[in-house]
Amino acid sequence: MTDMSYLDGNMLDAPLRELFAVDLSGAVGRCENCGAVGPMGTLRVYSHAPGLIGRCPSCAQVMLRFVRSPNWARLDLRGTTFLQVPMPLDQPHPGPI
């Protein structure tokens, strides 16, 4: 495993903005394979492929696949246990919602 032909995960912001109403640039994800938790912006993105592949920076397993056809977009997140998105409530609240 020697090549460095990947981009950093921040390049996913624009393609995923088409898909999500929330801004994913500050999102944190957990790798299903190794359990590493970190900003999605640290994924290693292989873009010289039919779609975009985001790999875990710790174990290199695939966490995200994104394919954009002329008619649809498909996001495959089977390698991601969770995505946590910054989403502050408009009003402070005293306890569990």
């Binding site: 495993m1 020697t2 032909s5 492929a49 592949i53 696949r65 994104f66 394919v67």
Partner: protein, 169 residues
Amino acid sequence: MLSAGPTPKVPLDSWEFVITTETGAEYRWSWSELMALPQETPRVDIHCVTRWSKLGTTWQGVSLDTLLDGIDTDAAYVLAHSYGGYTTNLPLDDLRGGRAWVAHTFEGGDLPAEHGGPARLLVPHLYFWKSAKWVRGLRLLSADQPGFWETAGYHDYGDPWREQRYQGD
């Protein structure tokens, strides 16, 4: 040159190619065993799904007809799998009839690792994502099982002449 991940380095002394039938029978070849089989030198056009084609490329490798010869199977599909974890699905018939090879030489030289060496599948009549780089083996299957790109929305067959890029094309 397209890649879905880092380039695996596969030493020839530990390289192997395995065909596993739908009943679990395994047929294995080491690198030296592969080289001892009859070699062919196909000159073919290749077509990438990202809209480039390369005409008249010359390869050397072993025909899948040779590798499948004598293997008892009723399978209709294949899931090719690679060092590095890549997979892609094809109908078994498309690997027969002098149309598919395990290729180890490109334009007279060893196939470079970034192009899929030491050996890749070569199925030039389908889009090139079906020609799995760093091929490690074939699983023969009764039912079609989508591979790496196919589960992400790419076509299960991938005929370049019908522009079968995405599912539904």
